[in-house]
């Protein structure tokens, strides 16, 4: 669940973004569209609590977040938010399953290998769990990133251009998976993209 109120963010004096309010319930999906430089990534960083807005308020699970310190923000990120980056980042010295349970570790939770295996089965990379992440193909890495974002059952899933590197078939698959998994854990899903293929699929859209 996520709600924003009159968010504003500025880079120095030259560029200031004002963002439309959003209000997303559990199991709902929102597509955030816009040209490059329109502030899509900034919006994602704001609602992902990676950057603080100049003005406005963000409610995650009905809790306001503008007044809390950086430590509590880190706590929010680990417990309630799962982010899927455009580029698949990993801890390269760890293998696939270790990268997954890393989410649990960073959230101070018990390492849930069972959950990691189930997600891997759901997303179709169960046979790659003990491989090094560098050995995986781009598509496989993308799916591992999705699984990692789901490890702590967050209430908000943020995806930054999740399909830009994929062909039509895989684009559909990834979109299906995202919606399916988000619905399963009662999470709200925000997808930031300029991918035309997704526009036709999700009705709930805003354009920056």
């Amino acid at each position: 669940m996520i709600k924003t109120q009159s968010l504003r963010f500025g880079y120095g004096n030259q560029k200031t973004f004002e963002f439309p309010d959003i209000d997303l319930k559990a199991r709902e999906t929102l597509l955030v569209l816009g040209k490059s430089g329109a502030g899509k990534t900034t919006f994602l960083n704001l609602i992902g609590l990676l950057q603080s807005p100049e003005q406005g308020e963000i409610f995650i699970d009905n809790e306001p977040t503008s007044k809390i310190g950086s430590k509590q923000k880190a706590g929010f990120r680990s417990q309630k938010i799962g982010i899927i980056y455009q580029k698949p980042y990993f801890v390269n010295s760890l293998n696939v399953i270790e990268n997954l349970v890393l989410s649990n570790f960073l959230a101070d939770r018990k390492l849930n290998h069972e959950r990691a295996k189930n997600l891997a089965t759901d997303l179709g990379f169960a046979d790659l769990l003990f491989k090094k992440v560098q050995q995986l193909s781009g598509g496989e890495q993308q799916r591992v990133c999705i699984a990692r974002a789901l490890m702590n059952n967050p209430s908000l899933i943020l995806a930054d251009e999740p399909t830009s590197a994929l062909d039509d078939e895989n684009c559909d698959k990834v979109a299906d998976l995202l919606v399916k998994e988000a619905t399963e854990i009662n999470a709200s899903l925000v997808i930031v993209t300029h991918d035309q293929r997704l526009k036709n699929r999700f009705q709930n859209q805003i354009t920056l």
Binding site: R77, S78, Y89, V91, N92
Partner: protein, 394 residues
């Protein structure tokens, strides 16, 4: 999990990690080895010298006199008349005089002619049998009995000098009467008999009947009643007799001072190596911080606390230096084990293996400090990472 990540990170850059550990190992190993060897040598040397205030013998090098008379390492300086030695007893400062007569060996082990007081001086206790009473009866030290496989009642021929291959005295045979308990002193490596056994052996050999007053010994150990003796008696002897007096405390000090220069140089070298190991850890981690900036930013974005990641980098330095310390200590123990075997063969000296010395604990602390300092600067870098900027960069 934290330790797992630390371990995996170390493994993932094997070569640089090995380099850091090797350098630390070398530094720690050298210092530990030098410390242990020096300490054990000093202990052995001072234990054997305990209670002996002065050694008198033929004129020559005082150090040689001490080494031969007290430690039975070097060759003796020559012989002195027994009469002169006995005269010492009349000096009021002198408490005890123990004459020693050397010159023969059995299979490389020195045979020392002396009196019962020599055994008493070392608090030697019989393990088996009884002590020597008559000529040609001997007691043997524990190491001798074990090494040469001597038992009570065994008979053997001695050879002249200190070489195994020298000429043998065929006419007479020594007989083993007693075996001493382990004493952790030089007598463990000696065969001991009375003075007249040695004379008997050589009279027979030279086929000359020596008269009573011509009897000679090699040297004598002297104990004083009070420290004033140390000041007056040696000068008296050196000026008025054919003998020379040497003070073990002074000669051994001189020896250790000579050795100390080399030991100190080695120590400085080893400390330099440890510092270089620290620099190597620093460079490894500093580069890693640059290479792994994305990973660290990723973990931060996933809600990881900066302190957790700070500890992670710090632990990498600590694990590396700890591994270096452990392998260094192991290498040093191995070195002492090997050196001990070597020394035993050539000098009948051996070292005990202590589990850990106080100094080695200090070395552990030093190694950890080096490890922590080397990783501190890279680890502090964690607090400077800007998550969004780092992840936005390509």
């Amino acid at each position: 999990m934290l330790l797992k990540i630390v371990w995996k990170n170390i493994i993932s850059k094997k070569l640089t990690s090995i380099l850091s550990v090797l350098l630390m190992m070398l530094g720690i190993g050298i210092i530990s080895l030098v410390l242990t060897l020096g300490k054990q040598l000093e202990e052995k040397f001072s234990k054997n010298v305990a209670g002996i205030d002065m050694v008198v013998g033929a004129k020559g090098s005082p150090l040689q006199l001490i080494l031969s008379g007290v430690y039975h390492i070097d060759a003796p300086t020559g012989n002195i008349p027994l009469k002169e030695v006995d005269n010492l007893r009349t000096n009021s400062f002198v408490m005890e005089v123990i004459p020693l007569s050397m010159g023969d060996n059995y299979m490389g082990t020195r045979i020392v002619g002396t009196s019962q007081r020599y055994l008493k001086h070392f608090n030697a206790v019989l393990h088996l049998g009884k002590t020597f009473e008559n000529d040609l009866e001997v007691v043997v030290g524990q190491n001798v009995a074990r090494e040469l496989n001597l038992k009570i009642g065994d008979k053997f021929e001695s050879t002249h000098g200190y070489d195994k291959e020298a000429e043998e005295h065929h006419e007479k045979k020594y007989v083993v009467k007693g075996i001493l308990k382990y004493n952790n002193s030089v007598i463990d490596n000696l065969i001991i008999c009375n003075l007249s056994s040695i004379w008997a052996m050589h009279e027979e050999n030279s086929h000359e009947a020596e008269s009573e007053h011509e009897k000679e010994v090699t040297c004598a150990l002297v104990k004083f009643r009070n420290p004033l003796g140390l000041i007056t008696v040696p000068r008296l002897i050196n000026q008025n007799t054919v003998m020379q007096a040497a003070l073990p405390a002074i000669e051994i000090n001189r020896l250790f001072k000579l050795m100390g220069i080399g030991v100190d140089a080695l120590k400085y070298l080893a400390f330099a190596i440890i510092i270089i190991s620290g620099i190597s850890v620093f460079i490894t981690l500093y580069n890693a911080l640059k290479e792994r900036k994305y990973e660290l930013a990723l973990m931060l974005s996933m809600g990881g606390k900066r302190f957790t990641l700070f500890m992670m980098l710090l632990l990498e330095g600590i694990v590396l230096s700890l591994a270096g310390w452990i392998s260094g200590i192991l290498i040093s123990k191995l070195g002492i084990f090997l050196a001990s075997g070597l020394l035993f063969k050539s000098y009948h000296y051996s070292f005990e293996q202590n589990l850990l010395q106080k100094e080695e604990i200090y070395l552990l602390v030093a190694a950890l400090i080096v490890g922590i300092f080397a990783s501190l600067i890279p680890a502090v870098g964690i607090y400077k990472i800007n998550i969004t900027k780092t992840l936005a960069k390509d």
